[in-house]
């Protein structure tokens, strides 16, 4: 057993590290994370265009469409360095969610029309899956698309749509047939957000921010050329996409960075003159998380090593999402605990720095919005169902 990288991988790591140091500057960082509205969108796009210019925006795509051709180890190194640098992950909706469906199941025209603009971040995509009546039971969705000549007429509502307010396009699962088993009557449709009849209704979340939305379709006419693959086969495409989702979803590098920041902060915050980092109980809380993260790091490395050796990852890969999100939340919980009174404060017009506790605002936001991590992408309960079925065979 060994945990060392090859010389080539180490050289690659230096190159990636160098890139993040020179290209990821603080102003982009600030806008892409904390910017308000247009500023946030602009910050994210600016950063993604830098990745695009370097040719690194879509490591998982096939090379012919603009992918990097990286090995699993190189992809892992890139993700790790991104986490160390504190750079945001690329918005997944275009690059990792709809694009694989388009290049796998779409036709030549669709590929030519959509893929270049996804790659260059000229189009912002959002995801239209969940509905008010279809969450974990996604196949129960009821948004309809009626075939009418050269177009479909779409009616219904999608919910929890992240950044729909910025989106140019939405990819949707819609019901095209009610006659068959519920999974079989679903189609995969691409819809221009500017089409008449599409409206976006903000949902303010418990962190006080607006990233989620409801998207309402009222007699929306969608050209038939925007149907991916065959009608009524959308569920199959969506499922294939789920399998395509990144394996490195344990977010180890991000969690390591967050934990380091938490430790730094804990040496500043005091109680009765003693830094919290020196408090034995707080230390136990910290290391409860840290040892779990150290284990998770090696679980992820085991998965990467198996893939790098040309094999399929073992059953341990299935735990990455659950453990990754649980660890992220545990860190967020401790951040908020560290913020104490200030974690509950809404500084309003006070400058966070003047208020003296910029970190507290982030802690509150992180904790509140962080609750979503175990809900989205298949709730952790659904993840456990999947492991029970696929790994344990029950």
């Amino acid at each position: 057993m060994d945990v060392t990288f090859t010389k080539e991988d180490l050289a690659f790591r230096s190159e990636v590290r160098e890139f993040f140091v020179t290209e990821y500057d603080a102003s982009v960082a600030e806008r892409s994370k904390h910017g308000k509205n247009a500023e946030l969108k602009e910050g994210i796009i600016t950063w993604q265009k830098k990745l695009y210019a370097k040719g690194w925006v879509a490591p998982s795509w096939p090379v012919e469409y603009g992918g990097t051709g990286w090995t699993p180890t190189q992809k892992f190194i890139f993700e790790t360095e991104r986490g160390i640098a504190g750079a945001p992950a690329v918005m997944p909706f275009g690059i990792s969610m709809v694009a694989p469906v388009i290049y796998t199941f779409g036709n030549a025209e669709q590929k030519a029309k959509f893929l270049p603009r996804i790659l260059s971040s000229d189009d912002w995509w959002c995801q239209g899956y969940s509905e008010p009546g279809a969450g974990s039971d996604l196949a129960a969705l009821s948004t309809t698309a009626e075939h009418a000549g050269d177009h479909y007429v779409v009616n219904g509502r999608k919910i929890w749509t992240t950044y729909a307010q910025y989106a140019d396009w939405i990819f949707c699962l819609v019901r095209t047939s009610k006659e068959v088993r519920k999974q079989q009557g679903i189609s995969f449709l691409l819809i221009d957000m500017k089409t008449p009849g599409v409206s976006v209704k903000p949902i303010v979340t418990i962190d006080g921010k607006h990233s989620l939305n409801e998207v309402i379709f009222d007699d929306v006419a969608v050209p038939v050329e925007n149907l991916i693959g065959e009608q009524d086969k959308g569920w199959t495409y969506a499922k294939a996409l789920l399998a395509h989702e990144r394996t490195g979803m344990a977010d180890v590098a991000d969690s390591k960075r967050a934990l380091a920041a938490l430790k730094d902060r804990a040496s500043v915050e005091v109680n009765g003159g003693t830094a919290m980092i020196d408090d034995p109980v707080f230390q136990m809380r910290l290391s409860d998380i840290e040892v779990e993260l150290m284990a998770l790091e090696y679980t992820e490395l085991r998965v990467i090593a198996a893939m790098a050796a040309g094999g399929m990852p073992g059953p341990e890969s299935s735990l990455l999402k659950i453990k990754g999100t649980e660890t992220t939340q545990a860190i967020q919980e401790l951040q908020l605990q560290l913020a104490a009174y200030y974690g509950g404060a809404l500084p309003g017009n006070l400058e966070p720095e003047a208020f003296g506790h910029a970190f507290a605002e982030e802690a509150r936001h992180g904790y509140m919005y962080g609750r979503a991590a175990t809900i989205y992408g298949g709730s952790n309960e659904v993840q456990r169902n999947v492991i029970a079925k696929m790994v344990l065979g029950v």
Binding site: M1, D2, P280, E292, A305, L392
Partner: protein
């Protein structure tokens, strides 16, 4: 990057697995545990013949020259059989201390006998008051003309009742809690003044308390550097922890497998209880706990392996974190195994409880999870 056992390691692992499968079933183990010796001399001779007892020793003493990975591969399978024969006590502790000392004469005299199975050994480190602090030593060694005179008491010494020879810690200078001033001594278990009081642990391990009253030990049998015995102990402990955690891992894998199989066959309300979502989710949690424990064992092996280029602090952080994760996973998996087996899990007749009891005693060996978490904290914060 690679986390697979090598071909040779896999062969070694498979040979232990075959032994457990074909010759070490639950009834056999019960009979061994119930016997006077609490171990099988016959199996021990077989382990010697198969070369298992030679694995960690250097080739110049007749050993296989194996690594901690080789030992870990074996220990995982020994764990799955809940094997009580004193491999850790004799080979890794007693033998490990000798092997890492610079006493050439002692090494050439004793190590070949460990390897051929004719010398059983034990390491007496614990005293009634010392709990997990290895440096809390009251047993004294006083210099005499040609050697040392030992006085004191050692507690819960694994394999002491069967051991031909013992290594014990004793204070040659300094105060009760000083690290400096502890020395190691090799003595025959039937030497004059040595009184051994055997008893059995709940996991079936045969242990003993040892009383030392004016026990004479020749100068030549003082092991390692005088007053600096802890340096030697500190070289051995990481290897032993890696082995014990690998054994615990084997048990966890075994328990999870047994529980899963049981829930698939046990019917209530007309259906297998494995169809209940609440049990499914808990089995997913125990599956994840075992995988996380495996990741930590591998992390520990990498940290203390040949390719380990990391600094000492990181190495020991990994070691302590491994013990913490293994302790947590062991507790969860053990308790869930009993719970999901229901009434059957409570019975002595089923092997489940015996595996759980082994996990519990393993957890305490060389510091429980909390002890190691505190050590981890000291290195980290």
């Amino acid at each position: 990057m690679n986390f697979e056992y090598s071909e040779e390691q896999t062969m070694l692992k498979d040979s232990v697995a075959r032994f457990v499968r074909e010759q070490y079933d639950f009834d056999t183990r019960r009979a061994i545990v119930a016997s006077e010796a609490g171990m099988s001399q016959e199996f021990w001779a077989m382990f010697a013949e198969l070369g298992w007892l030679s694995v960690p020793f250097a080739e110049e003493y007749g050993g296989y020259g194996g690594t901690s990975e080789d030992v870990a591969a074996m220990m995982e399978e020994l764990g799955k059989g809940n094997v009580v024969e004193p491999f850790v006590a004799t080979v890794l502790l007693f033998g490990g201390l000798l092997a890492r000392s610079d006493n050439k004469d002692l090494k050439s005299a004793v190590i070949p006998k460990i390897i051929d199975g004719t010398c059983l050994g034990a390491f007496g480190f614990l005293e009634r008051q010392s709990r997990f602090e290895l440096t809390d030593v009251k047993t004294s060694a006083t210099a005499s003309d040609v050697g040392w005179v030992l006085n004191g008491d050692k507690a819960v010494v694994v394999n002491a009742a069967n051991a031909d020879q013992l290594i014990v810690t004793a204070r040659t200078s300094g105060g009760q809690f000083d690290r400096q001033g502890i020395s190691l001594f090799l003595l025959d278990s039937n030497a004059e003044g040595v009184e051994i009081s055997p008893f059995v642990m709940m996991d079936g391990q045969k242990v003993a308390n040892i009383s030392l009253r004016d026990v004479f030990v020749p100068a030549s049998q003082q092991v390692g550097v005088l007053d600096a015995g802890m340096d030697l102990v500190d070289l051995v402990i990481p290897q032993v922890l890696l082995a014990l955690c690998s054994e615990a891992l084997g048990i966890m894998v075994k328990l999870n497998e047994a529980t899963l199989n049981y829930t698939k066959t046990r019917k209530q309300f007309g259906v297998p209880i494995s169809s209940f979502q609440i049990l499914q989710h808990r089995m997913v949690d125990t599956f994840m706990a075992a995988e996380q424990a495996r990741s930590m064992v591998y992390r520990g092996l990498c940290a203390f392996g040949d390719g380990g280029s990391i600094d000492a602090t990181e190495r020991y952080r990994s070691l302590h974190a491994m013990k913490v994760v293994v302790a947590k996973s062991s507790k969860l998996i053990g308790e869930e195994a009993i719970q999901m087996h229901g009434g059957m899990g409570m019975t002595d007749e089923l092997d489940i409880g015996h595996f759980v009891k082994r996990l519990m005693t393993l957890n305490v060996m060389f510091g429980d999870g909390d002890f190691h978490q505190k050590k981890f904290n000291q290195l980290s914060y």
